[in-house]
């Protein structure tokens, strides 16, 4: 029987040396899809406004930002109408913060699965960063409407939008992997995450423009990958001046760093999840 040579599994103590084994995650892609779909479907089944929430949240934040930062504080918006300037940044930002919170809680929140059945645990945080894409897509349609209203045409940079989205996704995943694995061991991590998300919002150019940051500090500022993402969005969609190259490079470097260490730490802790959640 050929099966015997193909499906051979050996279980032994890992000895603290994890292997990445992304091929296995790929083999479970259907489960990943199901988990993401379930997330979205349950969220909208349980609410009256349904998919409307995906639009309501960034719209409300945009209105508040426009009043407080645009009208009262009169923050510069690089010559763009402030509402569209803020909303364009809120899209990737909301996706990011939602994915970060979701993935940080993904392991502990699925303890009923972890203790009962085997599958690559990476599927859980991956599912969380995937399900947020639906909300993003819905809110994006509103942005296109707003751009039409203000008469702003996207540039060819829009072709690069998926790249910026991928950076946002990988940042949320990388940080989420750290937090979700830590959360299994230390239960107060989940209380820290919202504060970090809040702090992070102000460390990103959502309400204000990067032009407020002194030029010589831009590279340091760029270590926050969301800076690169948001700048990229404004450049691609609103035709704002191309972002600083060094800053973008710092952003991408930071993502790789967080993601690789996050993956490694997650994999190392993985086999203790079932015993500790």
């Amino acid at each position: 029987m050929e099966l015997r040579t193909i499906n051979r599994t050996v279980i032994r103590p890992s000895g603290g040396r994890p292997s990445l084994d992304l091929g296995e995650v790929w083999a479970y892609r259907e489960l990943l899809g199901m988990l993401a779909w379930r997330d979205v479907s349950v969220r909208y089944k349980q609410s009256v406004a349904g998919i409307g929430w995906a639009v309501f949240q960034p719209l409300m934040t945009m209105v508040i930002f426009t009043i407080i930062f645009g009208k009262f504080a009169k923050l510069p918006s690089d010559g763009l109408p402030y509402p569209v300037f803020a909303y364009c940044a809120l899209l990737p930002w909301n996706y990011f913060s939602q994915s970060l919170t979701g993935s940080s809680d993904s392991i502990v929140g699925s303890s009923y699965l972890i203790t009962k059945v085997y599958f690559p645990r990476l599927v859980l945080p991956l599912g969380k960063v995937t399900s947020g894409l639906i909300d993003f897509g819905v809110a994006f349609v509103i942005l296109l409407g707003m751009m039409a209203w203000y008469g702003i045409a996207p540039t060819f940079g829009i072709l690069l939008l998926p790249v910026f989205m991928l950076v946002a996704m990988l940042t949320a995943l990388g940080v989420g992997l750290w937090f979700t694995a830590l959360n299994v061991k230390y239960r107060d991590v989940r209380f820290i995450v919202p504060y970090i998300a809040q702090f992070w919002l102000f460390a990103s150019p959502v309400a204000y423009s990067t032009s407020l940051v002194p030029e010589k500090w831009r590279w340091l500022y760029g270590l926050n990958p969301m800076v690169g993402v948001i700048e990229g969005f404004r450049w691609a969609l609103l035709g704002k001046a191309a972002p600083d190259f060094g800053m973008m490079l710092a952003s991408f470097g930071a993502v790789c760093m967080v993601l690789v260490t996050g993956l490694y730490y997650f994999r190392r802790m993985e086999e203790t999840f079932a015993d500790n959640v």
């Binding site: 050996v10 279980i11 239960r187 015993d275």
Partner: protein, 412 residues
């Protein structure tokens, strides 16, 4: 591996650390402790040695080794806390071993609990696909067996209703049905048959039998000795985390049941168990003679429960005699509202003559409502009752044939 061996377990062991489970699981606490110990190190005045933490190792299973051939149906038996579930968890890769190795050939399906991943808001149809994916089935596979799954569960009319509207019976039937139609080369089953009504349990057993006859390998953990005997050709008896007997099912079951000296007056939870669960259960009667309990005096059973923060938990109690007849079935909820928060205690009393002289087995479960069973222990306690002062003819146990003691009837 030799030709037809599909599971090879060698020197398998799993260690849990006791006393560390709830220690230091707040990051802030850990940081605080870290600072404190640095402080102490500097002052070097600490009156206690550093590694005072009461760390104890506990081996849930150790030096377990066996081989299982293709098509074998093997029962794993043993008392509570002897490592059966840990073994199954390692085989299904839910948790990793501390030492040793397992080699598995073929796709492994595990039924550690039915309905894993069911979501109340999703419809039956959606849950079938979800649950199937969790158990490792491909979408196309589930599609192909969809009608079969729904038919077996007898929920045809309700496939597009959210499962929160299902009766508990329907829910359990659907959950089992998905799992039963998973077609792995190796199937691991843990006590799933504790659910559903008698008719459905029979159907489940039939399905497992069918799977086994189909040439697939089944590992079956159960306390139900009758089904182990009918389903399995071979059985492995675990005691204290080690294999003490491995042979044909009938003789292993006989040894497990037959041991007349087996008395268990108290239960303690195994390490690594997740609350809500029973922490300990104890039979209490003062002035016992050589281990037997007096049937003419009340016997108390005290339960200690770790609620794990859950509210509204209830304790259910089943007392069976040696023929397997359930003499008493009771629950704390029968008496009044229940609700344990934090470390919970329960006590119940079997009145004098509530049991005839004989040997009894006690099953207990910790649940909320009918569906949510958090902890289920078969044979949690095993004990013997007798009438005191057996020299007296009145008290000669053999004379009284009732299921309960002769003194329960009041004569005027």
């Amino acid at each position: 591996m030799s030709n037809d061996v599909v599971i090879k377990v060698s020197n398998l062991g799993k260690r849990y650390r006791l006393g560390r489970l709830h220690d230091n699981n707040l990051l802030s606490e850990k940081i605080g402790n870290g600072l404190r110990s640095i402080f102490q190190r500097f002052r070097d005045l600490s009156p206690f040695p550093f590694h005072l933490s009461q760390e104890k190792d506990f081996w849930a299973i150790r030096e377990v080794a066996f081989e299982i051939k293709q098509g074998e149906v093997v029962g794993i038996v043993g008392r509570n806390g002897t490592g059966k579930s840990t073994l199954l968890k390692i085989l299904s890769r839910v948790t990793g071993p501390t030492e040793g190795e397992v080699e598995l050939l073929g796709r492994v399906g595990s039924l550690l609990e039915v309905g894993t991943g069911f979501h109340p808001e999703l419809t039956g149809r959606e849950n079938i696909f979800m649950n199937g994916a969790i158990l490792g089935m491909k979408r196309a596979e589930i599609k192909g067996r969809f009608d079969e799954i729904v038919g077996f569960a007898e929920v045809e009319k309700f496939v597009d209703t959210p499962v929160k509207h299902y009766s508990s019976g329907m829910y359990v039937r659907l959950a089992f049905s998905v799992a039963a139609h998973l077609e792995p080369e190796v199937l691991l089953v843990d006590e799933v048959l504790a659910v559903g009504d008698a008719a459905f349990q029979k159907k489940c057993l039939g399905k497992i039998g069918e799977v086994a006859r189909g040439g697939r390998t089944v590992l079956f953990v159960s306390h139900n000795m009758a089904s182990v005997k009918t389903l399995c050709g071979r059985a492995i008896l675990l005691e204290g985390g080690r294999v003490v007997m491995d042979g044909d099912a009938a003789s292993v079951v006989d040894r497990y049941l037959g041991d007349p000296g087996m008395k268990v007056a108290s239960y303690r939870m195994a390490a690594g168990k997740k609350p809500p669960c029973f922490r300990s259960i104890e039979l209490i009667q003062e002035e016992r003679k050589n281990g037997a309990f007096a049937a003419d005096r009340p016997v108390r059973i005290s339960f200690s429960i770790d609620s794990g923060g859950e509210k509204g938990l209830g304790v259910n109690l089943f007392i069976r005699n040696e023929q397997g007849v359930c003499i008493h079935h009771s629950a704390d909820s029968f008496v009044g509202p229940s609700g344990v928060s934090g470390p919970g205690e329960r006590t119940c009393e079997i009145p004098a003559y509530g049991l005839a002289a004989g040997r009894y087995r006690v099953d207990v479960s910790l649940s909320r409502g009918e569906l949510e069973v958090f902890d289920y222990l078969q044979d949690a306690l095993i004990f013997q009752t007798g009438l005191t002062d057996a020299t007296d003819d009145k008290a000669r146990a053999a004379r009284w044939r009732g299921l309960c003691g002769p003194g329960l009837i009041r004569w005027e």
